[in-house]
């Protein structure tokens, strides 16, 4: 365990723990899943949400997880984000085993290494944009300035507005700023444009794309909108709790060129 910013953290991995060769270039694996299985028991019904998923997310890449409702993509993201536990298999962040971590360790993991963006923004209504970001930077190990994070998503002028005074797209961009302000290794986005019209959605995707490029944050984005797949390095299709296929884009499309 290392001490970071005066606070002991159970999750301060040394980068370059796992690696793989990709086009002859050695790439660091940020998140890894092996045989990940999740079974829910609700009453008498047993639901196999994940049926043995093997997955590597490389440092700095932007991955889009595509799949229909109930395919298990959210469950996968939740386990990788430290929000849910797996029934079997292993999920690793760098060299840390997430599947074996206790609640306190997972809290630290989320606090220092993972940024979340939700479909419904989940901003705190009683805090301004800047304060919503500061909420996270105050407890993170190596945060950026909240104003810088908001500038990065194009909201430099709106820092002192409350959520009720912002449009949906603006609220989602505040949520992105809040997610990246801790300078996380991973950014997990669950249907970030799901509640937005396409024009506003593009603005949000631009912010995500920019963060991925400028900060090199590994980004996983869940959507059922196939168009969004064009802006990714890789598109992973999930169906019935399994990875159905993985396609690699030779070039990433700019979000402004997307339309749906």
């Amino acid at each position: 365990m290392r001490i970071v910013a005066g606070r002991p953290s159970r999750f301060n991995g040394v980068l370059a723990a796992g690696s793989a060769t990709n086009n002859g270039e050695r790439m660091t694996i940020t998140l890894q899943a092996r045989g990940l299985t999740k079974v829910y028991h609700t009453g008498d019904v047993t639901v196999h949400a994940l049926r043995g998923v093997d997955l590597d997310l490389f440092q700095g890449e932007l991955v889009v997880l595509l799949g229909p409702s109930g395919s298990g993509k959210s469950t996968l993201l939740n386990i990788l984000g430290g929000l849910d536990s797996a029934t079997a298999g292993i999920a690793r962040f760098l060299h840390h085993d997430l599947t074996a971590a206790d609640d306190a360790s997972l809290t630290d993991y989320r606090r220092d290494h993972v940024g979340f963006v939700f479909q419904f923004y989940n901003l705190i209504p009683s805090l301004t944009a800047r304060e919503n970001v500061a909420l996270v930077t105050e407890i993170a190990a190596r945060p950026m300035d909240p104003a810088d994070a908001l500038a990065l998503v194009g909201l430099a002028e709106r820092v002192d507005h409350f959520p009720a005074q912002l449009s949906g797209g603006e609220q989602q961009r505040v949520a992105i700023a809040r997610a990246i302000a801790k300078q996380p290794e991973i950014l997990l986005c669950d249907e970030p444009t799901g509640a937005l019209d396409s024009q506003t959605g593009v603005l949000v995707l631009e912010a995500l794309d920019q963060v991925n490029r400028e900060l090199g944050t590994t980004t996983a984005l869940i959507t059922h909108n196939t168009v969004i797949g064009q802006m990714a390095d890789r598109v992973i299709h999930i169906a019935d709790g399994r990875i159905a296929s993985v396609e690699k884009n030779s070039t990433r499309c700019a979000p402004e060129d997307l339309a749906w």
């Binding site: 809290t107 606090r111 705190i124």
Partner: protein, 788 residues
């Protein structure tokens, strides 16, 4: 059952924790009201029935001696229905195994039957028989205090003659619900007892053949006792009458009436406060609860339910919650009422109790509770029902917040975001925050009020028994004695100091107001029984002339220092004089009027005499002193201060505490209900926000801080507010509590505030712990999906 009605039951089950907590609040209000009013009704009815059944007289009169012929003249007074003449005398008793002398009040009864008036309930044994002059019936409390049963014997000095009396029965009587010795203020069953003896036996013992010295009258229904008393006084004056009194002034009846008056005051104030707080909490809590049902209401409307059906659905839910409280409250209230009535019944020694839970109180309590519940829910239901269904199903738009000047201030900038969330939420919902604060403050205030009584009574006892009295023993004589008796007493064993006091019955009048009381004659340098003023906390020297009045009496007569009072002495030559008021003093017990003993003797135009002698006693010789006193025929009362203090604690203090202590647990329930509901509703309103924070990496402790911090902060505000409220309530209570018998000094020990605060904090911590458990089970995955 319709599906929608099934939903009511399921929802109630789902909300059971909160429903129970709200129910607890409603129950405490309902129970407080029902308990108080039922007890009051029961005691009033029991007392009235007791008086009626055993024919308690309407008018009482004492005199020196009148021949039995006078009876017909009394019977001729208009409106007199029944006349019962009696012999009432005092005697010194010697009870085996009890060191101190005991005073007995002997009351004559016809041999072999009950008297016409002031009958008694024979509790054991039999009536006294003809030609058995030594048979007595004891009043039950006295018999119990000394473990005397029929067949036992006790020694008595009757008119200077040593006699052995045989106990043939024990009895209770409405005339002696409180049996108080002459000159004593408080019942003391060990040192004072009532003995019923045959009329012929007492005539013989006290040389009152064919005569009587006491008469009681029953009047025609609706007759005014005052006019009868005037006529009776005219008849009795020449036989040494000292002024007849109506039943309301009869010692025991007056005592009981005072107690019931106090109970009535308490019954009005405390439950009103409880019910108000409960109503207001129910209003707040149910309103917030319904507001969280917004999307469900939208859904119901989307299915095609009309506004009325939606409203009635939630009205049923609210009624369900209220009913839990009402049923709980009615059960608790009628049970506590019975317990309280029985406790009082034991104190009053009623032979039977007429207890029934008060129907009118139940109806009132149920009405107020339901009204509060529906009123609380109505606004929220209406608001939700008026929304178009599609909008209602959507999550509500983020609440708008404003930055305040505080946020920009130095302190504001220094705050971390969680603290900012706490403060903004309070600022955003000031009325809600105020309600929580006031609710908790009210329960703290009620606790202070309940606990403060002990302090006040301790202070009263200290002031009355220790600051204002320094004697160990006070002797009372049946008749005024020449001052030489003081010197005689001074030579008795163990007596270190003596001081005379003279009591004379008198009417004090100013304008139309007349107070029937007594003048207390006190020597100049009184040390043992001085004139003590509790405002100055000092002994006031006895002025050579003029009156020193207690402030209560001065207020009743509406006189101040320098003004005059007409005093009609009711003994001896019955002089009427006008006396100036020279000083006022604050006392908590009685309504004294002091005068210099020499001035009093001059007024009476009698040789200097005394009626009471206060003694300072060397405790080593106390036993010997008591032995000698048992043989003194003239002594009619021996009041030991230590015993009086004990008796005060046993009777007056206990009566008050019984009632008050019933409220302490109810106040605790109220406090817990407020704290739990506030936190629990905040959790359902903000569960999503808190879960988001957990996802963002906040620990359980940190999100608990946000939720519980808000309630905690409000409670910190509520605690001092509650103490202030408690003080104000105590002021109000003390003011509404004053009677001629005694006033309650307003005293609140710091520890009382402390205890109330600790209890409130404990209730808060308990409710926080319960809510914290729920926080730990927040579902983090859910927040990522949809809203609500």
């Amino acid at each position: 059952m319709r599906a929608i009605d099934r939903k009511v039951l399921r929802d109630l089950w789902l909300l059971r924790g909160q429903a129970l907590a709200i129910g607890l609040v409603i129950a405490s209000g309902v129970a407080a009201l029902l308990m108080s009013l039922s007890t009051l009704n029961a005691l009033r009815e029991t007392a009235d029935a007791y008086y009626e059944r055993y024919r308690l007289a309407d008018v009482f009169a004492s005199l020196k001696r009148a021949p039995t012929l006078v009876e017909s003249r009394i019977a001729a007074i208009p409106n007199v229905k029944t006349v019962q003449t009696r012999i009432v005398q005092f005697a010194t008793l010697d009870v085996t195994g009890f060191a101190e002398p005991v005073i007995g009040q002997l009351v004559s009864i016809p041999e072999g039957r009950q008297p016409l008036l002031n009958q008694f309930v024979l509790r054991s044994g039999r009536l006294v028989e003809k030609n058995r002059p030594d048979e007595v019936i004891l009043n039950e409390p006295f018999a119990l205090a000394h473990n005397l049963v029929p067949g036992d014997q006790l020694k008595a000095v009757l008119n200077g003659h040593q006699r052995t009396l045989k106990v043939v029965g024990t009895a209770l009587a409405p005339e002696f619900i409180y049996s108080i010795g002459p000159g004593a203020l408080i019942p003391d069953d060990q040192r004072f007892g009532v003995l019923w003896m045959g009329r012929e036996a007492l005539e013989a013992a006290f040389d009152l053949k064919e005569a009587f010295n006491n008469v009681v009258l029953k009047l025609n229904r609706g007759a005014d006792p005052e006019t009868v008393i005037q006529r009776l006084d005219q008849v009795l004056t020449r036989y040494g009458g000292i002024g007849a009194i109506a039943r309301k002034d009869q010692l025991s009846a007056w005592f009981v009436a005072n107690e019931l008056k106090q109970l009535a005051t308490q019954s009005k104030m405390l439950p009103t406060i409880f019910l108000l707080v409960a109503a207001f909490l129910t209003h707040m809590v149910l309103g917030r609860l319904i507001a969280t049902e917004r999307s469900q209401i939208g859904l119901m409307k989307a299915f095609g339910y009309g506004n009325l059906e939606v409203a009635s659905h939630y009205a049923k839910l609210v009624a369900g919650v209220a009913l839990i409280g009402i049923v709980l409250g009615l059960a608790l209230g009628s049970w506590l009422g019975r317990v309280l009535t029985e406790l009082y019944g034991e104190q009053f020694r009623f032979p039977t109790l007429l207890y029934a839970p008060s129907v009118s109180a139940s109806v009132l309590a149920v009405g107020v509770s339901l009204l509060a519940a529906f009123a609380g829910a109505a606004g929220a239901v209406r608001g939700a029902a008026l929304l178009p269904p599609a909008q209602a199903m959507l999550p509500p738009a983020p609440l708008s917040f404003r930055r305040t000047r505080f946020a920009a201030s130095a302190l504001g900038r220094w705050l971390d975001q969680p603290s900012r969330i706490v403060l903004r939420n309070i600022g955003r919902f000031p009325s809600r925050a105020a309600l929580t604060t006031i609710g908790v403050a009210a329960s703290v205030g009620l606790l202070v009020l309940a606990l403060q009584w002990r302090d006040s009574l301790d202070y009263l006892a200290q002031s009355y028994f220790f600051d204002a009295q320094r004697q160990h023993v006070m002797l009372g004589f049946a008749e005024p004695h020449a001052t030489t008796v003081v010197r005689e007493v001074a030579h008795m064993p163990g007596v270190l100091a003596v001081e005379p006091t003279r009591f004379v019955s008198a009417d004090l009048s100013v304008g139309p107001v007349t107070h029937r009381g007594a003048l207390v004659g006190t020597p100049s340098q009184a040390i043992l029984q001085p004139i003590y003023d509790d405002i100055r906390r000092a002994v006031v020297p006895t002025p050579p002339a003029g009156l020193v009045l207690g402030t209560w009496l001065a207020k009743k007569l509406q006189v101040g220092i320098g003004e005059t009072v007409w005093v009609q002495i009711l003994e001896g030559r019955r002089p009427l004089v006008e006396l100036p008021v020279v000083d006022l003093i604050q006392t908590y017990i009685g309504t004294p009027a002091y005068i210099h003993i020499n001035a009093l003797n001059r007024l009476l135009k009698e040789r200097p005499s005394v009626q009471y002698v206060s003694l300072l006693v060397d405790q080593n010789d106390a036993a010997e002193l008591y032995r000698e006193l048992k043989g003194l025929p003239a002594v009619s009362a021996v009041m030991v201060r230590r015993a009086a203090v004990d008796s005060f604690q046993d009777t007056i203090a206990r009566n008050l505490m019984v009632f008050i202590s019933m409220f302490a647990p109810l106040a605790c329930g109220l406090g817990f209900g407020v704290a739990y509901n506030s936190t629990r509703i905040a959790l359902s309103e903000r569960g999503r926000e808190l879960a988001t924070l957990r996802v963002l990496g906040f620990s359980r402790g940190e999100i608990s801080y946000i939720l519980l911090g808000e309630v905690g902060l409000l409670i910190l505000l509520a605690l001092p507010l509650g103490c202030v409220l408690g003080y104000l309530l105590s002021v109000l209570m003390a003011a509404s509590f004053s009677t001629e018998l005694f006033r309650v000094p307003l005293t609140i020990a710091p520890s009382t505030y402390g205890v109330a605060v600790v209890i409130a904090l404990a209730a808060t911590i308990l409710s926080a712990a319960v809510v914290r458990q729920r926080l730990d089970r927040l579902n983090l995955v859910e927040v990522l999906k949809t809203r609500e």
